[in-house]
C-alpha cells in the first residue's frame, strides 16, 4: 500500500538529513580543511617525501593485491560453480571468513605466524626474508582482508549461468582456454570489474590489519591510511586532511566507476 503523502515526505526528509549529516558533511569537511590554509600549503603537504612515499606504497600494495585477488576470485568461483567436489561448501565458507573477522585479528595472526618470535620466524630469518614490518606483510594482510570481494561478486553469476554455454563451446571445438577467454570471461566481465573496484577501494583504505604488521616506519612501511593517523597525531591537521582527501578521492573515483558499471550493466 502507498503510504500517506505526508509521512512519505517526512521519511524522505529524514533520509536526506541523515545522509547529509553522516556522509556528505564529513566528506565536504575533509576537503574544506585540506584546503583551509590555501593551495600552496596543500601542495607542500602532498609533495612531502613521507606523503609521496605513503601514496606510492599504497598504490604498490593495490597493484599487487588486486590482480592476485582477481585471479584467486575467478579460480575459486570457477571451481565452486562449475565443478562438484567434496568440501565445496567448506570452500565457500572459507572464502567468506575475512568478511566476518576483524582485520586487526588477521594482522595479529600474521604477526604470530610470520613475526620474529612467531612460528615461522626462525626459518624466515634463516632464508633472510623479512615479512613483518615490510611490504610482504602489508600485502599478505591486505590480501586476507580483500579475499572475498571478487569471488563473492562472480560466484552467484557463474552459478546462475550453469555450464551449458561452456559445453556448447566445447562441442563446437573450443579448447579450455578458448572457452574461458571467449565464453566464461565475457559473461562475468561486469561482475568482475565491479568486484575489482570494490577490492581496490578496500585494499587502498585498509587500516586495522595493516597497522599491526607495518610497524609505521615513516617513508618505509607507512601506507596512506596509516599516514593520516600519523599526521593527525603530529597535530599537522592540514597534512592529515590532505592525505585523507587523497584517499577520499581514490574512493570517490572507485565509486563513480562502480556506478557507471551498474548503469551499463543494469
Amino acid at each position: 500500500m502507498r503510504p500517506p503523502a505526508r509521512s512519505g515526505r517526512l521519511l524522505v526528509a529524514l533520509a536526506v538529513v541523515l545522509t547529509l549529516l553522516i556522509v556528505v558533511a564529513p566528506l565536504v569537511y575533509i576537503f574544506a580543511r585540506a584546503f583551509s590554509a590555501g593551495w600552496q600549503v596543500y601542495a607542500a603537504n602532498i609533495m612531502d617525501p613521507a606523503m609521496l612515499h605513503a601514496i606510492w606504497l599504497t598504490c604498490i600494495v593495490a597493484v599487487i593485491v588486486v590482480p592476485l585477488n582477481i585471479a584467486f576470485g575467478i579460480a575459486a568461483a570457477w571451481a565452486v560453480a562449475k565443478h562438484r567436489f567434496p568440501g565445496r561448501g567448506l570452500l565457500v565458507t572459507m572464502i567468506e571468513i575475512p568478511f566476518s573477522i576483524s582485520p586487526i585479528i588477521a594482522g595479529i595472526c600474521y604477526l604470530l605466524l610470520y613475526g620474529r618470535q612467531g612460528l615461522l620466524g626462525p626459518w624466515l630469518r634463516e632464508v633472510d626474508l623479512q615479512v613483518m614490518f615490510a611490504l610482504p606483510g602489508i600485502v599478505l594482510v591486505t590480501m586476507f582482508v580483500t579475499a572475498p570481494f571478487v569471488a563473492r561478486e562472480v560466484l552467484p553469476l557463474m552459478q546462475a549461468q550453469g555450464t551449458e554455454q561452456e559445453e556448447a563451446a566445447v562441442t563446437l571445438g573450443a579448447s579450455g582456454w578458448q572457452v574461458f577467454r571467449r565464453v566464461t570471461l565475457p559473461n562475468i566481465r561486469f561482475a568482475l570489474l565491479y568486484g575489482a573496484v570494490l577490492c581496490t577501494a578496500r585494499a587502498v583504505g585498509e587500516f586495522g590489519g595493516v597497522s599491526v604488521v607495518s610497524g609505521n616506519i615513516r617513508g618505509q612501511t607507512n601506507t596512506l591510511p596509516l599516514h593520516v593517523e600519523l599526521l593527525f597525531n603530529d597535530l599537522n591537521a592540514v597534512g592529515a586532511f590532505a592525505a585523507a582527501s587523497t584517499l577520499t578521492l581514490i574512493a570517490v573515483v572507485a565509486l563513480v566507476i562502480k556506478a557507471a558499471l551498474e548503469t551499463r550493466h543494469g
Binding site: 551449458e164 559445453e167 556448447a168 563446437l172 571445438g173 579448447s175
Partner: protein
C-alpha cells in the same frame, strides 16, 4: 556417419541411468529418442556428444572408437534445450564461433568465415537477424540460431535435446517441418530427444522408445502404436486401461468384456492383461453387466465415462458422443474392446522392460 552403441551403462551416484543400451543408427538417418523424463534419453545423447562418459560399453562412429575422443574433437553439432547461445555475441558471431576457434592451421580466413556464415543464415532464413543479440530474439529465432551455430562446423552427427521443448504449439509445428527440410538438405545423421510422441513420429525415420534406462522398442509410428513391445510402451502410448483376462486356446476372455474383436494368437493359456486406449473401449448397455458407469463427463464432441467392475477394477472410456447410447450414472454395461495389446501376466514385475515376454502378440 553410422553410429553403433553396444552394452552402454551409466550410473549417477546410486541411480542407474542407462542399463545396457544397444543401438545402431544408419548414416543420414533422422532418429528420435522418445521417453518420459528420467528414461535416460538425454544422458545417452550427451554421451554421444562427449559431454558425459559411460561406465561401460562402446560407442563407435564409422568404426572409430569415440570414447577415445574428447568432445571438441568429435565434430558434433549439439543443440541444447535452452539453446545456450552466447549472450554477449551477435547472431553472426554465435554462428561463426565453431569456425573461429579452430587452430590457426585449419581456420578459414575471416572473409571465408563471414561468407560461410552469411550462406548459412540465408539457408536458415535468419539473415535479417545477423546483428541482433540473443536477448533480442524470440524462442523460435533462437532455436534457428542455435541450429545454425551447430551446423556451421559441418557436424558429422547432429544432436538435439528437446529441440522444441521451450516453444509454443504453433511455432513447434512450423519448426518441425523446417527441421525436416534442413535434415533433408544437409543429409547429416541426426538424433533428437523428445518426450512428445507426436513430435517423434512426425519428424523421425525411426523412433527409439526408452524407459527406465533401457530401449523398450524401436520402430515407426504404426508399429509402435499397434504393436507395443512391452506393457511400458503400451502405457506410454496411451493404452492406460489395464483389464485382467484369461487366455484359453489363444482367445482372451474376461468378465463383462467383449473381446471378439481381438484375433486369436499363439500365447500360452493362463492369466493375462489387455492394455487398451480409452478411445478403443465401448460401453454397451447390458442389464446383467458386471460393470457400472460411475462418472460421465461430456467434452462436447466426446463422452468420457468411468466404469467400475464389481471386483473393483476401473476403466476409462472415451467415445464420440453421437455414437453413445443413453447411459445414466450407475447403468450396468459390458465393455467392448475394439483394439488392445495382450501380455501374459508376468510372474515377477510388469513395469521393467527387461523381462518383457519375447513372444508378445498384439491385435487390432
Amino acid at each position: 556417419m553410422s553410429i553403433t552403441i553396444a552394452g552402454m551403462t551409466k550410473r549417477f551416484d546410486r541411480t542407474e541411468v542407462l542399463r545396457g543400451i544397444d543401438l545402431s543408427v544408419e548414416a543420414g538417418e533422422l532418429l528420435a529418442l522418445l521417453g518420459p523424463s528420467g528414461s535416460g534419453k538425454t544422458t545417452l545423447l550427451k554421451i554421444i556428444a562427449g559431454l558425459e562418459w559411460p561406465d561401460a560399453g562402446q560407442l563407435r562412429v564409422e568404426g572409430q572408437d569415440w570414447l577415445q575422443l574428447a568432445a571438441r574433437d568429435r565434430r558434433i553439432g549439439f543443440v541444447f534445450q535452452n539453446y545456450a547461445l552466447f549472450p554477449h555475441m551477435r547472431v553472426r558471431d554465435n554462428i561463426a564461433f565453431g569456425l573461429s576457434v579452430r587452430p590457426r592451421a585449419d581456420r578459414p580466413a575471416k572473409a571465408q568465415i563471414a561468407a560461410t556464415v552469411d550462406e548459412l543464415m540465408a539457408f536458415l532464413q535468419i539473415d535479417h537477424l545477423a546483428d541482433r543479440y540473443p536477448a533480442q530474439l524470440s524462442g523460435g529465432q533462437r532455436q534457428r540460431v542455435a541450429l545454425g551455430r551447430a551446423l556451421a562446423i559441418q557436424p558429422r552427427v547432429l544432436l538435439l535435446d528437446e529441440p522444441f521443448g521451450a516453444l509454443d504449439a504453433a511455432i513447434r509445428r512450423d519448426l518441425r517441418r523446417w527441421l525436416r527440410s534442413v535434415h533433408e538438405a544437409t543429409g547429416s545423421t541426426t538424433i533428437f530427444v523428445t518426450h512428445d510422441q507426436e513430435e517423434a513420429f512426425e519428424l523421425a525415420d525411426r523412433v527409439v522408445v526408452m524407459g527406465d534406462g533401457r530401449i523398450a522398442q524401436i520402430g515407426d509410428a504404426d508399429q509402435i502404436h499397434d504393436h507395443p513391445a512391452t506393457p511400458f510402451v503400451a502405457r506410454f502410448m496411451g493404452a492406460t486401461v489395464e483389464l485382467p483376462v484369461t487366455l484359453a486356446a489363444g482367445r482372451a476372455q474376461g468378465s463383462g468384456l467383449d473381446l471378439t474383436a481381438l484375433p486369436r494368437r499363439a500365447l500360452p493359456d493362463g492369466p493375462a492383461q489387455v492394455f487398451v486406449r480409452p478411445a478403443d473401449l465401448r460401453a454397451v448397455p447390458d442389464a446383467g453387466g458386471p460393470w457400472h458407469i460411475t462418472s460421465r463427463v461430456s467434452t462436447g464432441a466426446d463422452l468420457r465415462l468411468t466404469a467400475r467392475h464389481d471386483s473393483g477394477t476401473e476403466a476409462e472410456i472415451q467415445m464420440p458422443r453421437r455414437d453413445a447410447p443413453a447411459l445414466a450414472q450407475g447403468a450396468p454395461v459390458t465393455l467392448r474392446v475394439e483394439a488392445g495389446a495382450i501380455f501374459p501376466s508376468p510372474r515377477i514385475d510388469t513395469t521393467a522392460p527387461s523381462i518383457l515376454p519375447r513372444h508378445k502378440e498384439i491385435a487390432r
